[in-house]
Symmetry: C2
Subunit: 146 residues, 2 copies
């Protein structure tokens, strides 16, 4: 599993849109400023997220983006898998590996399967409602230091 900049931008995009859910549309420009991403690169990420059914858009003068689903219905795992590809640590689990003469006898296979499950157990159990709550609780946090 490797989370690229593209995946990182995608996650931050979904989180930003989740914070504006049921309010106003978000433009690429505003998003790019807030998540600190190159706007032209971000455009491509947004295009993919739209194709993936994560977000919707409105073109023209007062256009912008919004989430296609409720934040609670989108998980980190879904987004990462869609943008950065399968989370398997090694290609052999996808059957795209030349060096597995007898895949059923490979003693490492179980290790990679267990690893994949362990990763899934984390990223598939965090949704964007959780993250929105976390962001909001951080903002409300009292200041303990003087």
């Amino acid at each position: 599993m490797k989370v690229t900049y593209k995946g990182d931008y995608a996650l931050k995009t979904i989180l930003d849109l989740a914070l504006h859910y049921d309010k106003e549309l978000v433009t690429t420009h505003d998003l790019a400023v807030r998540i600190d991403a190159p706007i032209k690169f971000l455009e491509q990420v947004l295009s993919e997220l739209k194709k993936g059914g994560f977000i919707e858009s409105r073109r023209g003068n007062v256009g912008g983006y919004m989430l296609a689903r409720k934040p609670a219905k989108i998980t980190v795992g879904e987004v990462i898998r869609f943008i950065d590809g399968p989370i398997e640590p090694i290609a052999c689990l996808k059957g795209e590996y030349a060096n597995c003469s007898d895949i059923n006898k490979c003693v490492f296979r179980k290790v990679w399967e267990d690893t994949t499950k362990a990763i899934s157990g984390v990223i598939d159990n965090v949704n964007f409602d959780d993250l929105v709550s976390k962001v909001k609780s951080q903002q409300e946090e009292p200041i303990y230091s003087i």
Copy 2:
């Protein structure tokens, strides 16, 4: 976390040497044939594994390689980390990431930390004695099909 061919060859190398532990030295040639790796590429992997203290070598006519430690004292996690680098799914956990303005406020950080722990929980708890046992039990397995 991404396991490369190099990492895969390294793991298979350690396993093969574990299967020959306390017996004879293993040559690069024999190893290359058994694990199906290009010999010149494998040489580089062996060189790294030696630098990492996993294996020892003997040069010359009757040379070859052997494990530097007992199979039980080498884990899959150790080898992978040494050959393929840190298992963190994203660079921000290593502090090598430009896009984290305030790392303590990033709500994704915990996700990546939890992911890293989950992966470690698997790969750091498999050692090469476990794998040797598994290989041997597979070899002894009765044939159920006619």
